[in-house]
Every structure is written in C-alpha cells, then in structure tokens.
C-alpha cells in the first residue's frame, strides 16, 4: 500500500511538473485593416492547410515546452490584407496548375509561413519576449509564371511582468503578424515587377 501511494505521488508530481512547464498558447487579437489603395487586378489566393493551421512546437531543455497556435489568427489577418491589397480576390483550394484553370483571374498569390521563432527574457537576457515570423509571398501571373517572390520577416516584442509570460509571447506574436503585414502591404504594391504586371493586365495603364 505504501508503494502504491509513493508511485501515485511521484506520478502526480511528474504530471504537475509537466503541466507547470508546458505552455499552450492560442494566438488571438485584433489587427487593423490596412489603409492602402487596392491594385486594380483580380487575383486568386491559395492558403494551404499548413498556413491556416500553423503551429510552432518547441521544447527547450530546463525551461519547458511550447505549443503556439498562430495559424487561425494569421489566416484571418491575411484574408483582410489581401482583400485590401487587390481590387477583387477569391480563395482557390489549390494553386492553379495551368493557365486554363485561371479563368477570370489575372494571377494568384501564395502566402506561406517558412519559420516561426521566439525568445524569452531567460534566453535573451532582455526584459521582453520577442517573436519573429518568416513569410514567403509569391505572386504568379495568369500564365503561372512568377511575377515576384518576397521574403518578409515580421518581428514583434512585448514587455512583461513576472507571471504573465504566455500573454507577453502571444502579444509579441500578434505584433509580429502586424509587422509582417505592414511590410507586405507597403512593399508589394511598390515593387517594379508588380507595377509592370498590373500595367500589363490593364492594357498598359495603371
């Protein structure tokens, strides 16, 4: 009986330790609609399942484990971002494999998350949490050729109190999405290759 009690205690203690060191963060928040002029084109957007449900899992020795679910928040923001950047958009389940499948579209866009990373004050020695998201956004024309490919790193940070690290990391991640979105919203419409493509689509006039 004594053995059973000891084993139970050890198991409960181990479970408590596991729960105490595990961080399960679902990123939520609001990001405003960008105030930019839409490009006069009709594009398809392909959001992969991986993009829409992106999760970052990481175990750091002696510190704990993290599972950060940012896909949903990121997807919602990108839908708004793309709808603002282009005159008309429609989601496509797969990237069109041939020009024939691009009926009614001037091109299509594929946003991807290549990498997510974060730093805690314990790791960086600084008094804030920080997060970075490496995006790749590829724009194809109606022939399926690449017009341009952008690699954008969104970065965010959040100061923290002693016991709300998860909230600070969530806020830093929202700021990283916001920062990446700002770069995409400003850089893409100003890229010469995009301006040429838009002019071509519109018969030489913007």
């Amino acid at each position: 009986m004594g053995d059973v009690s000891l084993k139970t205690l050890v198991a409960v203690f181990a479970l408590l330790m596991l729960v105490a060191c595990g961080h399960n963060i679902v990123v939520e928040g609001t990001i405003p609609t960008p105030r930019i002029a839409a490009l006069p084109v009709n594009v398809g957007i392909h959001y992969s399942e991986e993009f829409r449900s992106f999760e970052h899992k990481e175990v750091i020795e002696d510190i704990g484990s993290w599972k950060i679910s940012l896909g949903e928040q990121n997807y919602v923001f990108f839908r708004t971002l793309m709808e603002t950047m282009f005159e008309t958009t429609q989601e496509v389940p797969e990237p069109p494999s041939s020009p024939a499948r691009l009926v009614g579209l001037d091109g299509f866009v594929v946003p991807e998350i290549e990498k997510y990373g974060f730093l805690t004050p314990g790791i960086s020695g600084l008094n804030f949490y920080s997060a970075s998201i490496h995006y790749r956004v590829t724009l194809f024309n109606s022939d399926g050729e690449t017009v341009h490919e952008w690699q954008v790193v969104g970065y965010g940070k959040s100061e923290t109190g002693l016991f709300n690290g998860d909230n600070a990391l969530e806020e830093a991640t929202v700021m990283a999405i916001r920062d990446g979105g700002a770069r995409i919203a400003i850089d893409i419409p100003q890229a010469p290759s995009v301006l040429s493509w838009v002019a071509e689509v519109n018969g030489g006039a913007l």
């Binding site: 609609t33 105030r35 002029a37 600084l126 008094n127 920062d179 919203a185």
Partner: protein, 187 residues
C-alpha cells in the same frame, strides 16, 4: 496650438532594450491630457491603428522628408485630417540602472526567517521629444528631460523598499515642457 488640434505621442522603436518604454509614453500622454491647460491627446494605439500600416516600428517616417513622401500616399493626409492630429511628439530615451551596491541577505527556515542588510541602485532617466507639425510639415522643435534617483531596500527582519522613480519624474517634467511648448506655438 488651436483648440480643435490634437497631439499624439509615439515611442520611437529601436528593437533593442534601449527604447522609450510603452509605460513612459502612456504616462506622458496621460500627463499632457490632464491638469491645468490639458491638451487633446490621441492615444498611441488608436493613432497607429488608424494609420496602419504607415506608423509601425519599421515603416514610420524617420524625418520630415519621409513624412512628406508618406503624405503623398493615397488617403494618408485625409486620415490624419479626420483624426485632427496636428502634432506628433516622437519620444527617444530610456531609464537605465547606472549603479548598484550594498548587500541584502534573506533566509527562511522551519523556525522562521528574515532579511538583513541594505541594497541600493541608482537609475538615470533621459528622454527627448521631437515635435513635428503635420499642418506645416516641419519639425517644430525638440525638448528633453532628465532625472536620477536612488532606491533602497533595507532589511531588518522584513525588507523595506524605498523606491525612487526617476522615469516618473522625467515624464512629469517632459509633460510640463511639452504643454508650454505647444501652448505658445503659433497656430
């Protein structure tokens, strides 16, 4: 500054640990917007949301030339005029610990515990506000405030903190100067 005009106070981001804390810009906004001769202040989050994506840490204009280019973007000037923001105060600076010393030891045992000794640290707060006039598209001026303070924790059984807040003092000093500057500025 006319009665309908508003001011927004923005922290200049640097992406390292040496930048104006969000708590400092909030303190400054609150201090300028209350008391004698309060100014109309638009909060930093509200202004950034209103102007997204143009005033984010890595997209905000860093000088007047960039501001002029930004205002040429479709809708930007209209949005600023709608908000009635006439002035932006960009805040640079931070509060740093410049020295610490003393010795404070705390123990805890089955028969009790306590702290003995004295620990202290000195902090230096230094901030500058660069003021832009959005109507005339000019740099209207710059003001600054500095404050230092030493905090103590003395332990005689219980730790007794005596905390100085130089950041708070610098906030109040800068707020007073900012009010004076903008209230005497020609409309």
């Amino acid at each position: 500054m006319s009665s309908g005009d508003a001011l927004v106070i923005l922290g200049r981001a640097s992406y390292n640990d040496r930048e104006a804390e969000a708590s400092f810009t909030k303190c400054l906004s609150d201090s300028v917007g209350e008391g004698r001769d309060p100014l109309r202040v638009v909060s930093e989050p509200e202004f950034k949301d209103l102007m997204y994506p143009w005033f984010e840490p890595r997209t905000a204009p860093t000088n007047i030339d960039e501001l002029v280019k930004l205002f040429a973007q479709p809708g930007v000037r209209d949005q600023v005029e709608t908000s009635q923001v006439r002035y932006i105060a960009w805040i640079n600076g931070d509060t740093v610990t410049t020295g610490k010393g003393g010795s404070l030891a705390c123990t805890l045992s089955t028969v009790g515990g306590g702290c003995f000794g004295v620990s202290f640290w000195e902090q230096d707060a230094s901030y500058e506000a660069s003021i832009w006039d959005l109507e005339n598209m000019t740099s209207a001026g710059a003001i600054s405030a500095d404050a230092t303070g030493t905090s103590y924790v003395a332990g005689v059984i219980l730790p007794i903190p005596l905390v100085a807040r130089p950041g708070n003092a610098a906030c109040k000093a800068l707020a007073t100067q900012l009010k004076e500057f903008l209230l005497t500025e020609e409309p």
